[in-house]
């Protein structure tokens, strides 16, 4: 078995354990603890008020803009990681190419900033 194979074997074993371990005490608590639901107890917490309408409502558009911004920068950083790994073997010219890429995205950030997309309203 090669080195990388056994590495990913460890990762998969570990993730399986990581999913099971937190579930064990929850199951144990379900067995050990009482289980006596009643309508008043099961009401959602609203400081004593009845919830008005449905809880699963559509939400402020603001969050969506930040999600979009994040997507752009996340993809950018994924592209930058190979550049960073290869950096030590690169000539100055190749480094500048990477910097131009960063500069273009900075342009995007400045555009968003000027457009007021970064303001919380």
């Amino acid at each position: 078995m090669s080195m990388t194979d056994s590495n990913w074997l460890f990762v998969s074993l570990f993730i399986a354990i990581a999913l099971v371990f937190p579930a064990v005490p929850v199951v144990a608590a379900r067995i050990l603890g009482p289980h006596r639901p009643n309508p008043a107890k099961n009401e959602t917490f609203e400081c004593g008020m009845q919830t008005v309408g449905d809880s699963w409502v559509q939400f402020k558009i603001q969050y969506y803009i930040f999600g979009l911004l994040f997507l752009v920068f996340d993809v950018e950083s994924i592209f930058l990681f190979p550049w960073a790994v290869a950096y030590q073997q690169m000539a100055l010219f190749a480094v500048f190419e990477g910097l131009v890429f960063i500069l273009l995205l900075t342009g995007g950030l400045v555009y968003m900033w000027r457009k007021g997309a970064l303001e919380w309203v």
């Binding site: 050990l32 099961n42 009401e43």
Partner: protein, 397 residues
């Protein structure tokens, strides 16, 4: 039979189990699986049991910051307080609110612990001890850490509660935003090492990367604090505004699992900072006696953890617009600038300049950038002060 070495006793035990099973007559491939499983089991236990101690530590230290005693009744110095809490929580009822999405409601907290635990796979404890020395270690830690956002979203959505939903949305916008400077700061150690493997990054730190890139280290630490939703970035569970945020409906041990995930995440982040910027397991004699590496790593981790507790006890919670401004208008541009600076300086410095001299040259350039940035901040704050002067009121009519 593997050779005994005291300095590397953990690896010796690992090899010994493998050797014993192979001589017993098991298939070597199966033996590897058993070995890996045992190692994973031990590591998971270590990581999951650590919060029991850190919760006590945090309560004790937070109490000292506030001039209180903290837990001091159960056992010496209140050491057994966490165990008492666990026993109590185990016997409490888990209430499922009416109208909740049951499966998602139960999976949410479990899924918040699992990815944080998954980060421990790539943390090197010593020169010979690492769960899996992945060649994409840095990217793996970010990728798996990102699942935590999903877990919070699940918990908040499934609770059928408006406060919980509001908390979940706040969490999503904050965690997702702060991932950007976090990843950009991670690019700098990657770039200086030329590898994404955690063990390679530690091995490259003859001089700690915090000297090479103090700005990146600070950005990573601050955005990590935001990632774990810890004060001053705890708007996702601001008691005074949205009760308790995404876990308001959780009770009993399901609530404990959320707390476990949070404390484990805080400790994990401290370990990541130590590995990436503070030299990880490196220290005097750690190469000769790998077992010492664990001591150094834990010492550094607890130091970083202490600083995060200090910040938590000192700084008040920031508003949501301040949170977004700090991220998008300060940390992201600063991280980009620091990345450009390090990339340029490292190429322009002569190759003959090596070792700590090179590190301090980087440090000087970072300080230079910081001086410029603080100058800009100062001008900006003066401008804002002049803007917000109240309009003159006509008086004395």
């Amino acid at each position: 039979m593997p050779e005994f070495s005291f300095g590397d006793i953990a690896v010796y035990a690992y090899d010994m189990i493998g050797w014993a099973l192979v001589t017993y007559g098991l298939d070597p491939k199966l033996v590897v699986i058993i070995q890996k499983f045992l190692a994973a089991f031990l590591l998971a236990n270590f990581a999951l049991l650590t919060p029991i101690f850190t919760i006590w530590l945090e309560r004790k230290i937070a109490a000292r910051f506030q001039d209180r005693l903290g837990p001091n009744r159960v056992g010496p110095y209140g050491l057994f307080q966490s165990f008492a809490d666990i026993l109590k929580l185990l016997t409490k009822e888990i209430i499922t609110p009416s109208g909740a999405d049951k499966v998602v409601y139960f999976v949410g907290p479990i899924l918040s612990v699992a990815p944080v635990l998954g980060i421990w796979v790539v943390i090197p404890f010593a020169s010979t001890m690492i769960g899996a020395n992945l060649n994409v270690g840095v990217l793996y830690s970010v990728a798996i850490g990102g699942i935590g956002t999903l877990a919070i979203m699940m918990g908040g959505w499934a609770s059928n509660n408006k406060y919980a939903l509001l908390g979940a949305f706040r969490a999503a916008s904050q965690l997702v935003s702060y991932e950007v400077p976090l990843i950009l700061a991670l690019l700098i150690p990657t770039l200086l090492t030329g590898s994404m493997g955690m063990q390679d990054i530690v091995l490259a730190q003859d001089t700690w990367f915090v000297v090479y890139a103090p700005i990146a280290a600070t950005i990573f630490f601050v955005s990590s604090l935001a990632e774990i939703g810890r004060a001053p970035f705890d708007i996702l569970e601001a008691e005074s505004e949205i009760v308790a945020g995404y876990h308001v409906e959780y009770s009993g041990f399901l609530f404990a699992i959320w707390q476990l995930g949070e404390f484990l995440h805080a400790f994990t982040i401290s370990a990541l900072v130590s590995v990436l910027f503070l030299g990880g397991w490196r220290g005097p004699l750690a190469d000769l006696y790998p077992i010492l590496g664990i001591v150094y790593l834990l010492a550094k981790t607890y130091f970083v953890y202490f600083i995060s507790m200090w910040i938590r006890a000192t700084v008040p919670r920031i508003r949501i617009d301040q949170m977004n401004n700090l991220n998008w208008k300060f940390l992201v541009p600063l991280a980009l600038a620091a990345l450009v600076l390090v990339a340029l300086v490292d190429k322009l410095l002569p190759a003959s300049l090596a070792g700590s001299a090179r590190a301090w040259a980087h440090f000087a350039s970072n300080v230079g950038l910081m001086v410029i940035v603080f100058g800009m901040l100062r001008t900006e704050s003066r401008r804002l002060q002049n803007l917000s002067l109240p309009a003159p009121v006509a008086a004395g009519h």
